[in-house]
Symmetry: C2
DNA sequence: ATAATACATAAGAAATACCTTATGGTAAAC
DNA sequence: GTTTACCATAAGGTATTTCTTATGTATTAT
């Protein structure tokens, strides 16, 4: 059985009118065209669907069944079209993001704003480590990834969208904590708690010290940003971290930013996607959104000391 | 949007394999044929459904939606086919009958047997009066009608399928009730309770008396067969009724058949349908069934005195 | 009886659907 | 680097679909 949507459409009209001529008018067709479609449908099903008694038309039992089927199928088609339209116009859809754990906090703030504009869009946010992020991209299991240091040569495409100021923090009673200016040399005399080798933050810090021909004294390294901050709080050393991860600690005054010369170091946050990936409409919009709005939005958020540090 | 079932079928295969070449093999097509169907589907929806990243294929969000749609639509088509097949093979369907109230009792017995052969077939039986029967046929609201005297010239087609013996009954203590032979003249001396003018039974009775040049003395006429029998039970007169309506009364011995000369008068039960009506498979089978089997079946039923009357 | 109405059928033409083979391009595997 | 696997694209042809106009036929209404 090889029906066509055309046959169903015509049949539905005839079944509704119980009159070929009127159905033909509705469909802007000639009457024989309608007759033929019905005839073909009857040939397909190999059973009469409509019977003519005198001048009136009646649906046979199978005809009634066919009417049900035609209506439901056509309704489904309408539904599909609507769903697709909604997806296109982003009234519906799903945005799959993944972020580096260091970016988690500020990305959630960005997302909160973004989500308000697209109430019917569902969002999934995977907060995970660097290698998992690359894995997700590889498997095409997410639309976009936000991270601090995209790798090279994995068929990835990345774009910086926001400055990522790295600052030096200490516990509030550190002797450098309240100073208005701390020289490079004074910094170099301190010991640091740092991220593991290979981390973007670690690399940036090392580059900074190398460029200024200073020694970078690392006391401990840890693979977790939160652990580093905690170590600094406990006075195990100074820490170099992204300002964007510090909101809570600054509010709670468990850490203080040191007014170190040459700081903050500016790195970037990147949006990363697979090369060649055709973004879904909503992913494209989100991409545009953060590229254009992230800077402004971050300023709107109440990051204390941002300005003073930024001098 | 003007999809084709072909496009959906091909898309479904591709979505399942996530591989054009394998889908093509499954469908016994060349690979470009598959490419083209997908491309056309994407043109119809005006949105990508499948994306190729590296060597792997992925469904887009809309593609996933389309996959759902394709599967459900194709499943519905399978269901439709099955339903139609079942209707054709009479594993399903509906038989709409209407019978004259006088025929009710014996038709139900016929139906009970018939229904056993077609357990999934539902049957509706409308028991109503003559004019309503014609109305039902006119409006094509039933497949077949069973009645005693089909009218002429209503674009109806009728076929006798069973003898309808009319007998004379009286209450059990009537002085003719136990006689082994009652002459025509003795009958003609009696008074009768009869159906209204125009009724088939009435006409047949009148014809009988006219043919034998006897007077037909009618005391009362009633439009309801049951009322007539009741009148006879109460001794208001003799009654001429179809043997097939008497089963209960004979069993209960509230009426007795009189062994009148020339009786029973043989009339017929008819199956009536609209001229030109294409019977549904099940209606056709039922029609054949009663045409061929009704006589035998009626003999199987325990109609006491049938044989003796029939001598 | 005649006209009017409505569906069926036939013939022909245009569009389009659909498939094949041949070929090109790209990513991954060796 | 070469090969392999796999999809895209092009060209070309056939079959099918789908429509129209013209005409036939049956039923109903006048």
């Amino acid at each position: 059985m090889n029906l066509t949507f055309r046959q169903l459409k015509v049949f539905e009209a005839v079944a509704r009118h119980l009159n070929y001529t009127n159905a033909a008018k509705e469909l802007h067709l000639s009457q024989p065209a309608v007759s033929m479609q019905i005839k073909q449908l009857e040939e397909q099903t190999n059973t009469p669907l409509i019977e003519k008694l005198g001048k009136k038309l009646y649906l046979t039992e199978v005809g009634l069944e066919m009417q049900d089927y035609a209506r439901s199928t056509m309704q489904q088609l309408v539904d599909l079209e609507e769903t697709i339209d909604q997806m296109k116009s982003m009234k519906r859809g799903h945005l799959k993001l993944a972020v580096a754990s260091t970016a988690n906090h500020f990305v959630i703030r960005l997302l909160a704003r973004f989500a308000k504009f697209y109430p019917k869009i569902s969002i999934s946010l995977d907060v995970t480590n660097r290698s998992s992020l690359l894995d997700l991209l590889e498997k095409n299991e997410c639309d976009l990834v936000i991270m601090g240091s995209p790798p090279e040569g994995h068929n990835l495409q990345s774009a910086p969208f926001l400055e990522n100021p790295l600052v030096i923090v200490s516990h509030p009673h550190h002797y450098l904590a309240d100073r208005e200016h701390v020289s490079l040399q004074e910094i170099a005399n301190e010991e640091f708690v740092v991220r593991e080798q290979g981390s973007g933050t670690r690399s940036a810090a090392e580059r900074f010290f190398t460029e200024h021909e200073l020694e970078f004294k690392t006391k401990m390294d840890m693979s977790n940003n939160r652990a580093i901050k905690h170590a600094a709080e406990e006075g195990l050393g100074l820490a170099i971290v992204s300002l964007h991860t510090l909101e809570l600690e600054l509010k709670a005054k468990t850490l203080k930013i040191i007014a170190a010369e040459g700081f903050p170091i500016y790195r970037n946050w990147y949006v990363v996607q697979r090369e060649g990936k055709r973004l879904s409409p909503i992913a494209m919009v989100f991409n545009d959104y953060i590229m254009q709005e992230a800077g402004q939005l971050m300023k709107d958020f109440d990051l204390p000391l941002f300005k003073s540090v930024n001098v």
